[in-house]
Amino acid sequence: MMIDQEARKHLRESLAKGVRYDGRKKDEFRPIEIRTGFISTAEGSAHVKCGETEVIAGVKMSVEKPYPDTQEEGILMVGAELLPMSNPKYESGPPDATAIEVARVIDRGIRESKSLDTQKLCIKAGEKVWSISVDLCPLNDDGNLIDVGSMAAVAAILNARFPSYENDKVDYKKKTEESIPITRTPIAITILKIGTAFIVDPTELEEQALDARLTVTTIDDDRLCSIQKGGAGTLSVEEIEKMVELAVHKSREIRKLIKP
């Protein structure tokens, strides 16, 4: 849904008065529902519903040759396809810049949290390592895909179990009890700046009225591990301080949902 100048102006004026169209507080998420382990073909899966935004994440694992520069480390990759099913604005075809940004911000948030011990994914140095692919598929995009996608990705990784691996062959029918060696729970929180207001968990409509956004990924001890600024507007240092504080605060709430 594209909004015009007048609608944009109205939304900004309402926010300046502290009013969001759906009645939420500025720092309030929509209701979140998380379901895991429901896709039988995936090694791990999660379905996250945040308001009307719905994302599925699935984990597939395979045994691959390691990259030449990291001979003793396994591979983690997070991909996102903005399915045309999820919103009329997306089209079939190769992922565009928006999709790539969503995937990369989530990917970096998890990678840079150093929460995955990639050396434990090594089977034989230089020859065989586990490769973990997390794929995100939005079913319905009503805003905040980065945060919701990141929740789904982490929840799916926590849910995943290795398939059995014997005589150089992966048996996808047999799952082991072994889970992915992840030690932290990275949480991405995106704060939008619209006029003078800062909001979390934007709907699609709110996203279209943004001046700037800041995605902050934090780990369990409140340290930051990844940041991405988006939008054409600028941010002052004071504003960034405020936004980061808010992100850290919200991440604690969300982390409890992902890892109860």
Partner: protein
């Protein structure tokens, strides 16, 4: 050796448990989920909307465009690479033909109706499951249709005709000793329930023609059961919607533009008529 007992214990005529739901994707004009055993399909319909690039437009009628896609984690084995493949393009094309047989877009010239089919999890029969979801989604979107297409895969294993194959049955020689690839065939069929006509037919495997004819009869019977599930999904959605519409109207936020008049009496209509003129 013959296929005497199905691996999952079903009767030879028995479909896997089915489940369907309409209206699952809020942004879409119509949507549905269809499940056949462990195969799940989501379908979303957008349109009729203007078709670009313009040279593809048909000034006489709208066109139907289908896109079948397996999610990367939906395959039985390794990750499926995202993006179109030869297989997914072919399935999109035959799905389009299977559905356009009943769809009437003569009222939407130059437009396109997009159908996106996504498979989160598959266990054989995914094109049929996709068609079943898409047919519900098209009806949910209010696209003019003669009927709701229903699809099912019929197989031939040993001397048996097998309804609604799962993955293991599609690869029976791997799971059952004594059978070879020559003894197994897979026949996906889409049927227009009201006429019994067939709008999708494919076959892989070696069979006598009599077997094919028999399989088609089985397909018809099975498709009727699929159709019942499809219809129920639509009934379920629209029955609940009628209730909520009714509540909305009785609260006064329904059709009337004037906040003071909640009941649409003939007086109101007269007033509106006067105002408009």
């Amino acid at each position: 050796m013959d296929y005497n007992k199905r691996l999952d214990g079903r009767d030879f005529d028995e479909l896997r448990p089915m489940e369907a739901k309409a209206g699952i994707i809020k942004k879409a004009d119509g949507s549905a989920m269809f499940r056949m055993g462990n195969t799940v399909a989501y379908a979303a319909v957008y349109g009729p909307r203007e078709l670009f690039p313009k040279f593809m437009q048909d000034p006489k009628k709208g066109i139907l465009r289908c896109n079948y896609n397996m999610m990367p984690f939906s395959g039985a084995g390794e990750r499926v690479r995202p993006g179109p493949s030869r297989r997914s393009k072919e399935i999109s094309a035959v799905t389009e033909k299977a559905l356009s047989a009943v769809v009437d877009l003569s009222d939407s010239p130059n437009a396109v109706v997009d159908v996106y089919i996504e498979l989160p999890q598959t266990d054989a029969g995914s094109r049929c499951c996709g068609i079943n979801a898409a047919a519900i989604a098209l009806a949910d979107a209010g696209i003019p249709m003669k009927d709701i297409v229903a699809a099912v895969a019929i197989g031939h294993a040993g001397s048996k005709i097998v309804v609604d194959l799962n993955y293991e049955e599609e690869h029976l020689p791997h799971y059952l000793e004594g059978l070879t690839d020559k003894d197994v065939a897979d026949i996906p069929v889409a049927i227009i329930p009201s006429t019994g006509e067939i709008s999708l037919l494919q076959m892989d495997g070696i069979v006598q023609k009599e077997v094919l004819f028999k399989a088609l009869h089985k397909a018809k019977a099975a498709a009727m059961l699929v159709n019942e599930v499809q219809r129920n999904a639509l009934k379920e959605k629209f029955a609940t919607n009628i209730e909520s519409d009714y509540e909305e109207n009785s609260n006064g936020s329904g059709f009337s533009n004037n906040d003071n008049n909640t009941d649409v009496s003939s007086d109101n209509n007269d007033n509106q008529f006067d105002e408009n003129n």
